[in-house]
Symmetry: C2
Subunit: 555 residues, 2 copies
């Protein structure tokens, strides 16, 4: 690669929500921005997480100089253990709070000792090879988030990360309008990569502080216990919950591992001031009158093992819901989670709890952390990009975002990239190059990080839909004869009538009779013949299609 | 049962959306109102439909005098084939349009010849044993829908069915306010059973005609082909689509079996007037300039085999999406279907179609067919019920609806019933009695109607999450000795390392060595020992939990 060129290579998050990851390459130097995971669709049965295929980075292992994290949400840092296991020895840069989250994650995966973690301070620039990195403070639903301006020999690339323009600075750290404006002087940035999440929303996303009046009212009017649930990373929201509990004279118990962890980190780093004497532990809840207690509890998405789901079915040691208690879900319903959430709410209502969730009639009890259209336009106007690349979204969001950017009249050109696309930039041109390897890796269990291939998923889907039928034969290795009667095992398959299995055994016997000794000697052939004949018989007589898997046991 | 008492026995739809079914009993006479199905949660793997357990009706087979249908939606008529197969020889009453839908359904299940179908005409009363039935016309998203007033010796029961109060009468048949008002005179009805679907919505649901201005504008401004998709039973919407196509000089092709069937029935019965010469078939689409074509196409929910999903991936013979075409989804997103719908939309956007769906920013392109709070209050005010029973909804909807009814000050009492509850009424009392059998029946394949029990579902879930490991032993029946080496088959289970299987075989061998001959002779015991030891080994070495199913083959 010649030294007048720079490449932008998205590896995740362009064409889906989640698993955000983007490589920036100049000569022999590659920077990686974010290393996220994605939670799988339900159809990926049994898969726990999805991470980007980083084959491109592995192939160019020696060139990868750093991983830079914009903030601490799972879709930006959750793939880190996987990526670090593959790449090893790449330093990780993040802000103080982001690194605190990362630390717990790496410790869990026993990667902490082998990983160099370097703190970025918003506003303070630093050099990595030919890149000068400028982290710029932005506001978001999490704290200590940055956009990354990457100054390179051919121009400046700005990656916004996740952001909104929250002009009320809920944690006292304002969105750094001046730094962005500075980038816009003298011709602006070469390329802007901007968060597309809320591109469908007109106007300006309300400030985090917009939830305060309504939450205050709920804290005030609730007569019994108040169970308050929000995303564990909603640090602003947790801070507010402590403030309101203090104002309305309630003790606070924190229930749920992720909430506990977040609260601890946020307190250590000074984002939350817990009023003295207000904290109680789960076991103390019963010692206070109900109207003096607020329980911060995890599980807004109805996750079956979460504290709130367990409390909803009266299966939590400390969090017991009594008639007249209020449960407030200060969160959104993530698409795909509706059924689990509504089932949990139904259980809570059966316990005569007053459940408040964002059904559109409750006033502002939750706000988004992502920029709406006017904020997206504002950023484009501030930094005046020559080239514009929407990131973070399904294809339709990226497309709408490219149209929105073009309509400002500012970018010379917009590019609708997808994972694996390569955009090559010079000071005054941008050209698509051949795609690199990219895709999704399905991982079966967070802790062991085992990759699952498509065939396994297909088998699981088949098993899950129609069950399994297993004809088993014992063949004498010496004589080549079938010993005993063929056995048939059904599992996950409702046998409509026991006679079906009896007849199926006869079908196998007939298949064997009709096969030559040569065929019987070739287990592959005889298995396939049995499968075909049995499949035909089962489909005709039951209209169903279980997975049929002949087994030959050599004895 | 003494003759001064009447029982209301909901069998489905109280505690869930769908599978609506309710029995009304007086002495030896039982009427059944509606016979619906429910589409399963995704966790009911491979289950096609869910219907109410009608054990109570089967036990009282001789008393069941009629099934009365309020309207033709699947959640009210879809369980009919199953219920008729169980009960046989029960006459089915419905309005003309409802029976036309039922006819097709019964024909498909070969039940048409054996079923007596009797037409109800809104406003015309008829007698069944001690019951005088009064079907009252209501408005809804479907046509020819009725509420049922059932006049009994102890008083009148009113079951609203699904309704909204659409004062614009989109099909020219007005909601019969006068008939309801008449019921409210002289003390009102004894009990009101009312649709809870939209109890969360304040105000009054907009008229079906509210979609017209925006759809007219879309028909007018679209430059190329217009693909118009709505629920196949949205007869008003289909009628409007034909009108607007005519106005904007487009031919109409109808693609998709359910849409085709609905259009035909609605045309035959005079609900849709297809302008002469406007209809073309799929093969003719390509013969007209794009701006002269409207394609009515099925698949608003992203169902994988629907015409629109196939068109989205360019896999439909006639429906081809070209750049610049418009795809309009005049429908809502049914919770749980988000991922499929958005995946389809993404494919359409990749084909450079302009996709319009109800994302909250598109103006009114769809309206609900169910009554909002003011309409629910209006009905209560019209018919002045002594007792109020919310129907059709999850528990939280029923509860909120009971509260809304109580807040009008009209009912003497409200009852929060669930499936299987029995409410016994006299002229001036209402008492809960012991529950009857009720629940859900899972059916594996619409056409064969096979029941699936919970164990099968549990196996499928396990298989789908973690796959299957199958240790197989051949035991000589005569000697009791194990012949050959144990075999292990893995399916839907990613074996991290082939050595795992080799070692697993050794685990089995050790288990066998450590077992007495007596244990080996008891296949139940030896299977369980193998299962336990293998499970421990697999979990320790892979951190996963496949279904382990030892198989012993006797030879």
């Amino acid at each position: 690669m010649s030294l007048d060129k720079l490449q932008i290579i998205p590896l995740g998050g362009l064409g889906e929500f989640g698993m955000n990851c983007c490589a920036i390459r100049y000569g022999d130097h590659i920077l990686v921005i974010d290393a996220g995971l994605m939670f799988p669709d339900e159809e990926l049965l049994g898969v726990d997480i999805v991470v980007p295929d980083i084959g491109y980075l592995v192939e160019n292992r020696e060139q990868v100089k750093a991983i830079l994290l914009t903030h601490g949400h799972e879709d930006h840092i959750g793939g880190l253990p996987w990526i670090l296991t593959e790449l090893r020895d790449v330093p990780v840069y993040g802000t103080e709070f982001t690194l605190a989250y990362v630390e717990g994650k790496l410790e869990e995966h026993k990667l902490l000792d082998d990983t160099e973690m370097l703190e970025m301070i918003p506003g303070e620039q630093f050099q990595i090879g030919p890149f000068r990195i400028q982290p710029i403070r932005v506001t978001h639903s999490l704290v200590d988030c940055v956009s990354l301006a990457i100054h390179t020999p051919v121009g400046t690339i700005l990656h916004t990360g996740d952001f909104k323009v929250d002009l009320a600075s809920p944690d006292g750290h304002p969105f750094d309008l001046q730094a962005f404006a500075e980038l816009g002087r003298n011709g602006g940035v070469l390329a802007l990569l901007q968060d597309s999440t809320n591109v469908d929303r007109p106007g300006h996303t309300p400030s985090e502080l917009a939830v305060r009046p309504r939450l205050d009212e709920i804290f005030g009017r609730t007569k019994k216990r108040l169970f308050f649930s929000c995303f564990s990373s909603s640090i602003h929201r947790l801070k507010l919950a402590f403030e309101l509990a203090d104002k309305h004279d309630r003790k606070v118990a924190v229930i749920g591992r992720s909430l506990d962890n977040s609260t601890e980190i946020a307190t250590d780093l000074g984002y939350i001031d817990i009023p003295p004497g207000i904290l109680i532990n789960g076991g103390q809840i019963k010692d206070y009158p109900p109207e003096k207690v607020c329980v911060l509890i995890s599980g807004t998405q109805g996750e079956p093992m979460s504290a709130l789901s367990r409390a909803a079915v009266d299966n939590h040691k400390h969090a017991r819901i009594e008639p007249g208690d209020t449960v407030l879900l200060s969160s959104r319903i993530i698409p795909g989670n509706e059924k689990g959430i509504f089932r949990m709410i139904d259980h809570l209502v059966r316990r005569d709890a007053n459940v408040i969730f964002d059904d559109g009639t409750q006033g502002i009890i939750h706000v988004s952390g992502h920029a709406s259209q006017e904020e997206l336009r504002l950023m484009i106007n501030l930094v005046k990009p020559k080239y514009f690349i929407p990131v973070h979204g399904d294809y339709r969001h990226l497309k709408r975002h490219a149209e929105l950017a073009a309509s400002t009249g500012i970018p010379k050109q917009t590019f609708l990239l997808e994972d694996g696309d390569v955009l090559e930039l010079t000071r005054d041109s941008a050209t698509r190059r051949d795609k690199v390897r990219a895709g999704r890796i399905l991982i079966d269990d967070g802790s062991t990080a085992d990759v699952v291939d498509d065939l396994v998923i297909r088998d699981r889907r088949h098993l899950s839909e129609a069950g399994l039928l297993l004809p088993i034969l014992a063949i004498n290795k010496l004589t080549g004869l079938v010993e005993g009667a063929p056995e048939i095992i059904a599992r996950g398959f409702a046998v409509p009538d026991p006679s079906i299995l009896t007849e199926a055994r006869q079908v196998i016997a007939r298949t064997l009779d009709a096969s030559s000794n040569e065929e019987k000697g070739d287990y592959g052939v005889i298995k396939e013949k049995i499968r075909t004949d049995l499949k035909r018989y089962i489909q005709k007589n039951t209209s169903r299609r279980p997975l049929i898997m002949p087994v030959i046991l050599e004895i």
